[in-house]
Structure formats: C-alpha cells, structure tokens
Amino acid sequence: MKRFAALLERLALTPARLGKIKLLKDYFRDTPDPDRGIGLAAITRDLDLKTVQPAMLRELAVERVDAELFRLSYDYVGDLAETLALIWGAAGPAVDVGLAEVVDQLNGAGRGGAPAVMRGLLDGLDTSERYALVKLATGGLRVGVSARLAKQALAGFGGVDVTEIEELWHGLEPPYTEVFGWLEGRTAKPAQAALAPFRPVMLATPLDQDNLAAMDPGEFLAEWKWDGIRVQATAEGGVRRLYSRTGDDISGAFPDVIAHMGFEGSLDGELLVRGADGQAAPFSELQQRLNRKTVSKAMMEKRPAFIRAYDLLHEEDQNLRPLPFADRRARLERFIAGLNGDRFDLSPLVEVPSWEALAAARTDPPHPVIEGLMLKRRDSIYVPGRPKGPWFKWKRDPFLIDAVLMYAQRGHGKRSSFYSDYTFGVWQGANLVPVGKAYFGFTDEELKQIDKFVRDHTVERFGPVRSVRAEADFGLVLEVAFEGLNWSSRHKSGVAMRFPRIHRLRWDKPPGEADVLTSLEAMLPPK
C-alpha cells in the first residue's frame, strides 16, 4: 500500500507524460505481484471494487473528530478524501498491508461491514496511504493518467510496443501476473485468450489548411465527421463487443446494437442515436445513453442507437488493416449491405473535385449532426495511434458570441483558490440572462487577471460563488466559442451550449455591446 500511495502522490503532481511513465515503470519494477497488477488495474479502471459513499466517510470522520472542527477543516482543504486522510490521525500500530489485501478487504465487506473495514484500515495506515485508500474506495483516483498512458508505461517497462498490450488487454484480468512474467522475460507471451478483442484505433490529426495546396485531392477520400462517439463493433465466434475508442467495453449500455451484430468481423464507426424523425440526433441525445452500465427499454425506444460505419478492420478471420483504405472501403460497402439498415449504415463519401469545393461543402453540411470533414488517404493502411499524414480531421469553425461574465466560482484541485468557473450571460432587454458556463480556454496568466477582476468587483457571495459587476457600461466581456446550441428546459434562457470555452477576453468591449438572446435563438435547430 505504501508504494501505491507514494505513486499516486507523485503522479498527481507530475505534469509531464514522460515523468508519469517513469514513475509507473519504477512502480512496476519495485512492487511485487499481485500488488503491482492491482495498482495497474486501479489506474486503468479495470479493478472490480465495491465503492463506498462519501456520506459514510463523513460519518466515520465525525466519530473521531468534533463536527465543527471537521467542517472547518473540510472547508479549508476542499476535498473530502484528503480531509479525512489528514484528520484521521494514527489510532493503532502501523500495519504494512498490501494493496491486493486492501482490495480484498473492501470487497469482502458486506453492506453493513464496510464502515468497520474502513475504520480498521484507516487506523493502520499512514496519511498518504489513507488518502490512497479513500480515493480508491470512493472510485475517484484522478491522478491524470489515462488507461492508455498506463498501458504505454507497461509497454515501456517490458520493452514492447503498446499495441501488443492493447490487443491483449481484453483477455486479461487483474493482477496480470502472466503479463508481468512475459514483460520481465520470465514466461512466454500470453495468448490472446479472448474472442472479439479490442483493436487499437487509428486517429486523425487536425488539418492545417495551409498545407492543402501541397496535397493532391485525387489521393484522398472525404467523409463527413459525425458528432457521436467513435466505436469499434466486433463479433467473433459468438462473442459480441462494443468498444469505445480507448478500448473500454461499452456493450452493456447498447444491447440494441449488440442484438444486431450477427456478423463475423470488426467495424469501425460512429455511434449515434436516432431522433423522432429517424435521423441522427444531436450529441446531447446520445449523451443520455453514455456512461451507463445498463439501459432501460424506454430509453432504447426513445433513442435507438446505430453505427454509421466508416472502416472494416476484420472480416471473417481475415485482418484487413494492412490493406489500403480504398480497398477496405470497398469491402466495407459490401459488408454493410448485408446488415440491418436500422442499426448499421454507411458513412457516405463526399466528392473531392477540388479543395475549394470541399471547403464550400464544409461550411454547408447537409445535416446538423455533422461537425466537419474527415480526409483519408486512399492508400492509408490502418495503423494504431495518431500518425501524421494519412488522416486529417477538418472541423467546422466554432460558433462565437460575446457574453458578459455574471458569476464566478472557485475551481478545484490546483485552482481551488482561483475563481476559474464562469457563468456568462447575454442581454434580454435590459437584463442579462445566463446562457452557459465555461472553465477553460484561457491561459494561466488570463486566469490570474480574471480572478483579480472577480475579487475586485464582487457584488454578492454565495458560498464559493460570487456575482460580479455586470452592467451595460461596466463588466467583463468574454468571447465564448461553442460547437452547437440546443433547446434546454433546464436553463432559464432556454438554450444549452455544447462544449463552450472562453475564446478571448474582451477587456476592450463595453458589456452593453455583448450579444442578445434573440441572436442565440436564431442559431437553434427547429423545435
């Protein structure tokens, strides 16, 4: 547990990717089985762990500490897990307990036994271990390490390519003893035991328009870029799996798609849901079905999911990835023809007579759920990762509005003493009405400037939120960029922004000249 706690502590504060990889590699080297594998699974979120509720932790805390002192402390620290870890204090003799043992204890505790198990563990651990324990138990490690980065560290540890790890991953279970054995050269590479494994995806790089002139339109195929999520649908030997682009298995949330995967092969495409008109619905509709383990029948009827396919990686037992994209595309078209059209369709190609014509098509897409174009070289083979050159994404320009800063809230983590989350509004007559919230898009220097503005011009305080001066002739105008706008019954203004971020600070602009609500309403899709 000590090594895992020390690792989390360092990872959370190490900004550089290479630094994180180094820390992980050292952890794998210095930690024995099964603890290192359990630690890895905790980071990749493959660990099966019964989590505890924050309310239970609060109850534990006030058993030990006066409620007012706990409140003052929590107020100061701002993080429940950290407050608990720091305030607990040593109550028993220090215990050297392994991570695997801790996980066993947490999983072994019945519903009623969890507080006693937590109490026992907290008593025997040091501050840093207690923090790791509470983060682990509440299911929120948040150390800034993606599953992919952890797998890269694992690959680096064993001196193999990360795709070897990714391809194996879905047949593996924590604590991955056989993988460590292989990576340390002690045992043979584990066979891919699972059918329908994840195949690492190929990603596009953003297009730099200045480079278009040097590119030959005849060498590329273009498709619309659909605003859903990238998925891989694989069915082999009766096993059907739907993976996210990072290899998370999301089959459980999409049984309506799984039910129609009566094929042998592996499709790459965009997961979307249909609206009432039978067409692809905006991302906000799809979002209702994401991040769930299961899904209700009503939800599936209201928002049926389907895959708009754009690549074919495997067909029967044949690996198509070494083939040129144009060939895979031809195979894909034949493949799709045999599937249920309600659940699988083909992402159509867009003609590329010239870059000018394509640029024009980009500004006027035929469907609202299109967020730009994809350009793929006809001869590109399918390779994992984000190679520069074969595939480009050419997103539509974002929408921009000028809004006025109305409220600011203190952030979390490294921003917990900065006012970094902003609610902004536009004019409706003589009043401002909030239309969105954003907490990124600005530099650290700009953050400091806004923070100062907020502190200097606070009108009222509501806990961590402050309202700031926002008048026609005094206030801060924020140029806000966003990807789309939708109707919303949850917001007073009736609109909800997709992916809003601060684009520019308009210190120069009087708030009275910011946008009005009716100009936003004009951007809305028909109701």
């Binding site: 360092r10 959370a12 504060l13 006066d66 002192l69 003052l72 100061y76 720091l86 003493s417 900065f418």
Partner: protein, 333 residues
C-alpha cells in the same frame, strides 16, 4: 489588572502600556521586543530593540548594522517596572518566546514556535503564564507534520529516479533553508549542493554559529554547463522559481519545503511537483498538546486559523479568544 491592560493589539502591533513597548511591531516604534528574525516580525527602524543575540545578529545581516537606534541583548530585565524574559521557541536560530510579567500577572507570547526536533534551532522551552498567546499558523486538525526525515527520503528517492533533472527546492532563507540542508546531510547525501545567492549570508551565519551545513556551492554560475546541475539539489527562495534565474537548470523539478505542502491543492496551485512537508511551526497536535501541558488561565490565538483552535479550547473548557493582529504572513508565502 486585566490581561488587556498589560498587552493589547494596536495598529503598530502588540503593545504593553505599563512597559511602553511593543512586541514584534509591524511599524517603526520607540521600543520593540522581537521574537525572531523573520521579516514580518523583525523590521528595521525602531528606536530601541531588545532580542536574543542571534536575532540581533540576523537583523544586522538583513538590514545593516544600523537597523535600530539602540539594541539590547535579551535577558531577564525590567522595562518601566514590567518584567520581561526570553525563552527559546524552537522556530529558527535565535527565536524566542517572550514572557511579560507585571503586578503578579503574566503573559507568554510564543511568537512562532515549534516542538519538533531541529538541529538548527535552540529547542523549545515550555513556559507558562496566566495568559498564553499562541500562534495558529497550522491551527486545523488536518495539519499533522510527518517526520522530516521521511520527507527528505522522498527528495533523495526522486534524485535517483530523475537523475537528469535539477531538483529545485523552495526554502525560506532564514531557518528553513538551513534546516533542510542539515536534514539532507544527516540523511547521508554527500553530493555537492547549490544555493541561490539570497541564502548565502544566512547559511554562512549558521555555520559561524557552529551549525555544520557542509560545503555549499553558489548556484549563480557558469552558463556554459547546464549539465552540472543535473541530478543536483539546488536551494532557493520559492519566488526565484518564477524568475529567469530558474532557466539555467536542466528540466527543473520543483520541490517546496513547507508545512502548507500537506494540502495537495496548495502544491498544485504553486506548480510544485514534489511537496516536502517540513514546517518550522507547530502542527495541530503540538499546538493542542502545548496548551494542555501549560494549562494557562486563558488562551489568545493569533495569526493563522484562529477559529478552530479557539473552538478546540472551548471544547476543553479553556477560556480562549482570537487576537487579531495584522501584518504577519503565512509561513513562506
């Protein structure tokens, strides 16, 4: 007489009317008693200053020999009929608590103090009184300073893991710097260590006073060879990290030795990659244990998180109130 007539806050600082002197005044006054050499407690320009010999030395090093009209080395003394005495506070070299006694009423002003072992400061001496004026810099139960040796071990481990990176350790120039250097030496690290120019005078002074810090090289140097700092420990005031000065080091790994580093958000805010929780103040346990041990009639709580410590005193049935003194800074901020 009531305690308030013996000592009470004024704009200039804590004032003793019968003795006509201030303790750690933040503005120039005619007569000042100084607990220790940190800049927010020890300021230049007073008429007369009484402090320990070492605090006087440190003030002279920082402000020049004419930092006050007159100086007097602390000892048991009577000032206008008020008895004063100085007692080691364990905070930094030369630091003292000041006990003020008049007509049978005594008040102890801790200044800043700590009880943890520190080879670079005189050990704290428990001194009681009718009123105990305690600091509360780390006056919340979340502050429990770990053993400093364990923190130094983290630093040395990081040096092994990242031998290509210069480890820049942020330290306050008086006290923290010397304590951290000494802890590193005591941990067996025998490689060259480098210090920022702002630390040199005080490090030299500590060495003159018999506190062995080992050889220290200047980090000012030789731009031709960035590599000389790879895998080395470089100590500097934290403010130097944002300056161009820091650009001379290869891929610097920012460390910061401070009690505040206990709270992760504080470390993140400052861009600290390796927090070292080493403090020259009492933690919560030491603050509360000291009050319990001394059992004063009344506790006045100042600079820091007064609210929690006053609340704790209430829970124990000890009379306590916050004493609002302005002008003191948080540790190393």
């Amino acid at each position: 007489m009531t305690p308030e007539t013996l000592l009470h806050p004024r704009r200039e600082g804590l004032y003793c009317p019968p003795g006509d002197f201030y303790i750690d005044p933040v503005r120039p006054v005619a007569r000042a008693l100084i607990t220790h050499g940190h800049a927010d407690h020890a300021r230049a320009g007073h008429g007369a200053v009484m402090a320990t010999q070492r605090t006087l030395d440190i003030m002279a090093l920082r402000y020049g020999p004419d930092f006050a009209g007159a100086t007097q080395v602390a000892g048991a003394a009577a000032i206008n009929g008020v008895n004063v005495s100085f007692h080691p506070a364990g905070h930094v070299l030369g630091s003292a608590q000041i006990r003020v006694e008049h007509k049978g009423l005594s008040i102890v002003v801790t200044g800043d103090y700590k009880r943890g072992v520190d080879a670079t400061a005189e050990a704290y001496e428990p001194v009681g009184g009718d009123v105990f004026i305690t600091e509360a810099t780390f006056g919340l139960p979340v502050f429990r300073h770990p053993a400093p040796q364990a923190e130094i071990a983290k630093l040395l481990r990081s040096l092994e893991q990242f031998p290509e990176r210069a480890h820049l350790v942020g330290v306050y120039a008086l006290g923290k710097a010397q304590r951290v250097i000494r802890l590193i030496r005591d941990a067996g690290h025998d490689q060259p260590m480098y210090i920022h120019g702002a630390l040199k005078t005080l490090c030299d002074y500590y060495q003159e006073q018999g506190i062995n810090l080992g050889p220290l090289a200047s980090a000012t140097i030789d731009r031709s060879d960035k590599a000389q700092f790879a895998g080395r420990i470089v100590l500097a005031p934290p403010s130097a990290f944002a300056a161009k000065w820091a650009q001379r080091f290869p891929d610097p790994l920012i460390c910061f030795a401070s009690g505040w580093m206990q709270v992760r958000a504080r470390a993140r805010q400052r861009g600290v990659e390796l927090p070292l929780v080493i403090s020259d103040h009492c933690d919560w346990g030491e603050l509360t244990e000291t009050i319990t041990e001394l059992a004063p009639g009344e506790v006045w709580v100042t600079h820091g998180r007064e609210e929690a410590l006053v609340h704790w005193c209430d829970l124990q049935g000890i009379t306590a109130r916050p004493l609002n003194l302005v002008g003191y800074e948080d540790e190393a901020e």
